[in-house]
C-alpha cells in the first residue's frame, strides 16, 4: 500500500521538502518576515512583541524535532524553563550583560538535554511524547522543591536586564526589544540552517523510515540525540530572552501546560514548516493577551477548541495549508484534471 505524499497526509502531515526550493519566494518571505519583526513593537505592546518572537523561536525549535525528525516532545518546557531559571540566576548573581546570561541558559538547557535525550530517543512516536512529558514533570517537581535556588512557587523575582550600562535598553522595553531581537533571529537562522543541512536531510530520512536509515549506516540514536540537544539549545535561547523580558521566572515555565502551548503553536502554524511556528506563536500570544482583558473567562476553552479544530480540519496548520495549496497548484499545471474523490 503506497500513500500519496500529496493528496493524503503521510505520517507527520509534512509535504516533501521540494517546495522550499523556490529561491525567489524564499527571499520574499524572508524580507517580509524581517520587516514584520522590525516593526512589531510599534504596533504591539513591546513586552508582548518580545514574547511573540521568543515563543516563535520556541515553536521553531520544537519543530526541528516534531516536523523534521518526527518526534513529538511534550516536555520542552523543561528546557525552556530551566534555561529561564539559569539565565535569571546568572543575570541576578553576576550582573553580566543579558546576552551572556541567555547563552548561559541555553548551554544549560543543552546539558540537561543530554541525559533526558539519551533516554528519550530510545523510544519513538507516541512513547517519545509520553516519556518527554514525564521527564519534564520531573524537572518541574525539582524546580518546585528546590526553592532555595528557584524561589519555589514565588518564582525568581527581580531579574535585571543589564546591557553594557545602556540605560535605555535596561529600562525601556521598546529598546530592549531591539537589543534582544538579534539573539532570537540568530536562533531562527540556526534552526533553518539545521533543517536544510545534510544533517537535516538525515533527520527527515529517520522520520520517514528508521530501519532503512540504519541500514544506510546512519547512527540513528546519535542523530536523534543531537537533534534533541540542538532543539533544546534553541529552546533555551528563547526561554532565556523570555526570562529577561519579564524580569522574573515562574514555575509555569516548567509546567506541562507550557509544553502543550508550544506544541499548539507549532501545530497551528503547521509542522515541518518553520514559518508556521512564527505564525502560531503570533496567534497564540495575541489570543492570550486579548482574552486577558476581554472579559471572556476560560482561555483553555478557546485554546482547546483551536487545538481540536486544527487537528481535525487543518492538519497541515495554517502555513502548511498555504504551502500545500501552492504545491498542488504547481502539480495541477502539469497534469490533466480528474474527478474528485468520492
Amino acid at each position: 500500500m503506497t500513500q500519496s505524499a500529496v493528496t493524503e497526509a503521510p505520517v507527520t502531515g509534512v509535504d516533501p521538502p521540494a517546495v522550499g526550493r523556490d529561491l525567489r519566494r524564499r527571499w520574499i518571505l524572508l524580507a517580509v518576515g524581517l520587516t514584520a519583526a522590525l516593526v512589531l513593537p510599534w504596533f504591539i505592546y513591546p513586552p508582548v512583541a518580545m514574547d511573540i518572537v521568543a515563543m516563535a523561536l520556541f515553536a521553531i525549535a520544537l519543530d526541528i524535532l516534531l516536523g523534521y525528525t518526527g518526534l513529538l516532545s511534550f516536555g520542552h518546557a523543561a528546557f525552556w524553563g530551566s534555561s529561564a531559571y539559569v539565565t535569571g540566576l546568572i543575570a541576578t548573581h553576576y550582573g553580566v550583560p543579558f546576552p551572556v546570561a541567555v547563552i548561559g541558559g541555553a548551554v544549560f538547557a543543552m546539558i540537561l538535554a543530554v541525559p533526558l535525550g539519551y533516554l528519550s530517543v530510545r523510544r519513538s512516536g507516541i512513547y517519545f511524547a509520553m516519556v518527554t512529558l514525564a521527564f519534564a514533570q520531573m524537572v518541574y517537581f525539582i524546580g518546585y522543591q528546590w526553592s532555595d535556588l528557584t524561589g519555589g512557587e514565588n518564582g525568581l523575582q527581580g531579574v535585571p536586564r543589564s546591557f553594557f550600562g545602556i540605560d535605555l535598553v535596561e529600562t525601556d522595553s521598546f529598546y530592549f526589544y531591539y537589543a534582544a531581537l538579534p539573539i532570537l533571529l540568530l536562533g531562527m537562522w540556526a534552526a533553518w540552517r539545521i533543517v536544510h543541512s545534510p544533517f537535516g536531510r538525515v533527520l527527515m530520512s529517520i522520520r520517514d523510515n528508521t530501519p532503512r536509515a540504519r541500514a544506510l549506516g546512519y547512527e540513528v540514536e546519535k542523530y536523534k540525540l543531537i537533534a534533541f540537544v540542538l532543539s533544546a539549545g534553541l529552546t533555551g535561547l528563547a526561554g532565556g530572552v523570555f526570562a529577561i523580558n519579564h524580569g522574573f521566572v515562574a514555575l509555569t515555565e516548567l509546567h506541562w501546560s507550557t509544553s502543550g502551548e508550544v506544541v499548539l503553536m507549532a501545530v497551528l502554524g503547521g509542522i515541518g514548516t518553520l514559518w508556521g511556528g512564527v505564525l502560531g506563536a503570533f496567534l497564540a500570544v495575541m489570543l492570550a493577551d486579548y482574552l486577558a482583558s476581554s472579559g471572556f473567562h476560560g482561555i483553555d476553552l478557546v485554546t482547546g477548541t483551536v487545538f481540536i479544530l486544527v487537528v481535525l480540519l487543518f492538519r497541515r496548520g495554517l502555513w502548511g495549508t498555504v504551502r500545500h495549496r501552492w504545491l498542488v497548484r504547481q502539480q495541477r499545471r502539469t497534469a490533466a484534471a480528474g474527478p474528485a474523490e468520492r
Binding site: 505520517v11 513529538l72 530510545r122 509520553m130 514525564a134 517537581f141 506541562w256 502543550g260 483553555d300 487545538f307
Partner: protein, 290 residues
C-alpha cells in the same frame, strides 16, 4: 513490620485507581492506537458525574457505579464518532493532540459549570468505617476499591484476550482498509471499544469520588502518572497496565513513607530505569526492528 504491611496495602489501594484507569488507556491504545490524553479528564468526569448524581438525584455510590460508566460509555461513543474517528488512519500523534485539546475544553467546561473549589461527596454507610486485617487497619472503603478494581481488571482481560471481539477490534485498528476488505465493518467495532475504555476511566473516577478531591483539575496530574504507568507496563499491554498500576501505587506509598518529597519523582525514575533496561516496558512487545 506491620507498618510495612500497612504501607503495602495502602499502596495497592492507591494503585487500584491507576490500574483501572491505565487499563482503559491500554485498551484504547491497543485497539485504536490512540494515546488518549483526555483519560485524566474522563476520570475527572466520572468523579464529577458521581457527585452530580448524588447532588441532583440523590443516587448513592452504588448507583453511580452503575450509571456513570454507562453515561461515560455514551460520552465516549460521541467523542469517538465526532472527533477521534477522523484521525484513526493517521499518525497516533494527531489523536494525542486532539485529546489534549479535548482535555483543555472538558476541564474548562467543568470549571465553568461547577466552579473550581470542588464538589462534596458522601460515602454510603456500608462502606464507612475500618477493617482490621490482622494488624493492618484499613478504611473499609479502601479495601472495597482494591477488590473491585482487581475483579474488573481480570474480567476485562478475559474479554479482550479470549473473545472474538478483542480479535476483530485489534485487526480493525492495525489495518482498517484490509479489515474492511475482509468484510468487517470497522466503524461498528472501534466506537464501542473507545466508549468502553472511557467508561473504565469514568469508573475509576467514581471510585475515587468519596476519597479524593472532586475538582476539575483532579485528572491532570493523574493523567501524567498514568502515562508513566503505561510506559512502565508496556503500552497496549493489558496485563502490563494493570500490574504497573499496582506497582506504581506501591512505589508511591513506600516513597511517601521513606522519601516523602521524592515520592513522585521516584515514579519517573522508575520509568527511566525501565526505558533503559526494557525499552518496551515490562510486558510490552518489542517494537519491530526491521
Amino acid at each position: 513490620m506491620s507498618a510495612v504491611l500497612q504501607y503495602a496495602v495502602q499502596g495497592l489501594a492507591a494503585g487500584s485507581f491507576y490500574a483501572l484507569a491505565a487499563l482503559g488507556l491500554a485498551i484504547i491504545f491497543g485497539v485504536l492506537g490512540v494515546v488518549n490524553f483526555a483519560h485524566g479528564a474522563f476520570y475527572m468526569l466520572g468523579a464529577v458525574g458521581a457527585a452530580v448524581l448524588l447532588d441532583t438525584l440523590g443516587l448513592s455510590l452504588w448507583w453511580a457505579l452503575l450509571a456513570v460508566p454507562v453515561l461515560m460509555f455514551g460520552f465516549g461513543v460521541v467523542v469517538e464518532r465526532l472527533l477521534v474517528q477522523w484521525l484513526l488512519r493517521l499518525d497516533p500523534l494527531y489523536n494525542f493532540l486532539l485529546t489534549f485539546g479535548l482535555t483543555l475544553v472538558l476541564v474548562e467546561l467543568v470549571k465553568q459549570k461547577y466552579g473550581v473549589s470542588g464538589l462534596p461527596y458522601r460515602l454510603p454507610g456500608a462502606l464507612q468505617g475500618r477493617v482490621d486485617l490482622g494488624g493492618v487497619v484499613l478504611p473499609r472503603y479502601q479495601l472495597f476499591v482494591l477488590l473491585a478494581s482487581v475483579a474488573i481488571c481480570v474480567l476485562v482481560w478475559l474479554v479482550m484476550t479470549r473473545s472474538r471481539v478483542g480479535m476483530i477490534v485489534r485487526a480493525a485498528t492495525e489495518k482498517p482498509e484490509l479489515a474492511r476488505a475482509l468484510g468487517i465493518n470497522v466503524g461498528r467495532w472501534v466506537t464501542p471499544v473507545f466508549g468502553f475504555g472511557v467508561a473504565l476511566a469514568g469508573l475509576a473516577g467514581v471510585l475515587a469520588a468519596p476519597f479524593r478531591a472532586i475538582t476539575a483539575d483532579m485528572g491532570n496530574n493523574f493523567a501524567i502518572i498514568l502515562f508513566a504507568v503505561v510506559v512502565i507496563g508496556g503500552l497496549g499491554s493489558i496485563v502490563g497496565a494493570v500490574i504497573a498500576g499496582f506497582l506504581v501505587g506501591l512505589v508511591e506509598a513506600f516513597g511517601q513513607a521513606y522519601a516523602p518529597t521524592f515520592a513522585q519523582i521516584l515514579i519517573f525514575v522508575l520509568m527511566a530505569l525501565i526505558i533503559l533496561v526494557r525499552p518496551a516496558g515490562l510486558f510490552g512487545r518489542k517494537e519491530a526492528t526491521a
